[in-house]
């Protein structure tokens, strides 16, 4: 099958053997996939992946030996493949399985391919009312929802999102649902325009008030983004770290103690809730689509996604279309 293969450099291959579903797994024919900042980071060597890149997708189950009744289901899929028996799995934290594979990220082929195999437990049926172009945002929308899963946001709070890229936009769309007083630090004109379409206030970095926000979500993954978040949060406030950082970061931990700040690392989130928001139209992600490429043009898709300020790039993995 065709696939975007990472092995140091990404390349398009035509000769990747289609995966075979193991016990409890399904074979999924990928329809649309989304390019994420993590894909860019993997290409820069953030984590050693040798295999098919990509982890955001919507597809259709074409084989499921252990659940033939699910063949034909249109699905989105959670990317953490848990062992089910380690301490974390037994404690109900499967996303933190100590032995986990992560599709397209860690020791497991991803979704920039014609087919992918995933455990049936990971695959969630997509309601009919949600088109593929919205369903493909389920994984990053779930990641955005993880913020409010970890730090409940109340309507009278002040929240600030630092960074208005792909993930920052989704986080802003989730936070606005709380009724909180929300602002997003956005640099690019297009990022600002997209926030305006959903009535979210954008501000310039220089307009951020010191020690004012109850909650800051850091979605840039840059040391300067963290410094801005730290400056913006009030005493006893929370900073949710939503992006990974290259290398080590230096921080004034004493000031975190004195101001009693909470730093909260945040990763993958709840798919069912993301599907509910999409089905009810409470988050409408399709305006975030920048461009759509065929899988055969996958390298061009990666190139486009790496340009500054570019929103979501989709890859259509249906080779016959």
């Amino acid at each position: 099958m065709k696939a975007l293969w990472l092995d140091g450099e990404p390349r398009l291959r035509d000769d990747v053997p289609p995966p075979l579903p193991a016990a409890g797994e399904a074979l999924v024919k990928v329809r649309l996939a989304g390019v994420c900042a993590t894909d860019m980071a993997l290409m820069r060597g953030y984590h050693p992946l040798r295999g098919v890149l990509g982890h955001e997708f919507v597809g259709e189950i074409t084989a499921a030996p252990d659940a033939p009744e699910r063949v034909g289901e249109r699905v989105v899929g959670e990317i953490n493949i848990a062992c089910g028996s380690c301490r974390e799995c037994r404690a109900g934290r499967k996303q933190h399985c100590s032995q986990r594979q992560v599709a397209g990220i860690r020791e497991r082929d991803g979704v920039f391919a014609e087919f992918v195999c995933l455990p049936l437990l990971n695959l969630h049926p997509v309601p009919n009312s949600v088109p593929d172009e919205a369903a493909v945002f389920c994984e990053p929308l779930a990641a955005a929802l993880e913020v409010v899963q970890q730090v409940p946001v109340t309507p009278n709070q002040r929240a600030l999102v630092v960074g208005a890229g792909r993930l920052g936009q989704l986080i802003a769309r989730v936070l606005r649902l709380s009724g909180c007083e929300l602002a997003v630090v956005a640099r690019h004109a297009q990022q600002r325009a997209l926030l305006e379409t959903v009535g979210v206030r954008w501000i310039d970095e220089d307009a951020v008030t010191d020690a004012h926000a109850d909650l800051v979500v850091e979605a840039t993954g840059s040391p300067s983004g963290f410094a801005l978040a730290r400056r913006a949060v009030r005493p006893r406030g929370s900073i949710v770290l939503k992006s990974t950082y290259p290398g080590l970061l230096e921080a004034d931990f004493s000031s975190l103690v004195v101001d009693e700040i909470s730093l909260i690392g945040s990763r993958c989130g709840p798919f069912p809730a993301a599907l509910r928001l999409l089905a009810q139209g409470l988050v409408e992600p399709t305006p975030l689509i920048d461009a759509r490429f065929a899988l055969a043009d996958g390298l061009a898709a990666l190139g486009r996604a790496a340009e500054p300020g570019v929103m979501k790039v989709l890859i259509d993995c249906r080779v016959s279309t």
Copy 2:
């Protein structure tokens, strides 16, 4: 009056003018005061203080122009003096007043003296059942309680305290009340013996299991203590930072994101709860007393407190005794 004065170096003075209570304040005759790691840090220049050192005490109100009925009360005192009108004060976070003075720490004379002035609002009457030797622990015990104020600890959790010094001992005594599975990393024989007297398990640093603790309280203020805490906490667990660190600290923020760790800065805590625990005998701090010096021997007291592994050093500030 006599006082331990810090101005670069600490020195004993006989000529400090006794303070005069301002509106809403009381004059307190200090009975006993306790030496804290923060006093050591101030002597090393952690924060520029020029004035009377010390912030843990029990004393007696000897003048209170606005509340003469309180004269004679035996009291402990909160050390943050809030403006009452800034954003933080209006939000009910007086301990984080942006204009605050902090007795013995920031722009305000402390308690290693015959007398100290504090706002009446800061002074809590001590129940008769609590002797001076226990009441003098109220401020650090409140700081220990702040941990469970910020991160509720449930009986089935695993908690680890890194550091068994003055504050670590009190934190351990608070955490054991939850019924949680508790261990304390303790280096010195005396620290271990004190933990044994309250049935708390101590362990060696090498015996700490990776990614095992739901909650880790870092009470060393050293980079190696933080590294140990980071290693010990499980995914989605919490590290409460209870000590300040010299300079900046380098940390792998990406791993905090991936493992969804919460870092929670923690400072001053609730005095009324601390007094309740003391009055009910649920925390019995007096075995932590290492030595007691007269105010005239205050420099020797500071020297003793600075020795490694030494527990609480008290200063008796009653010059007539």
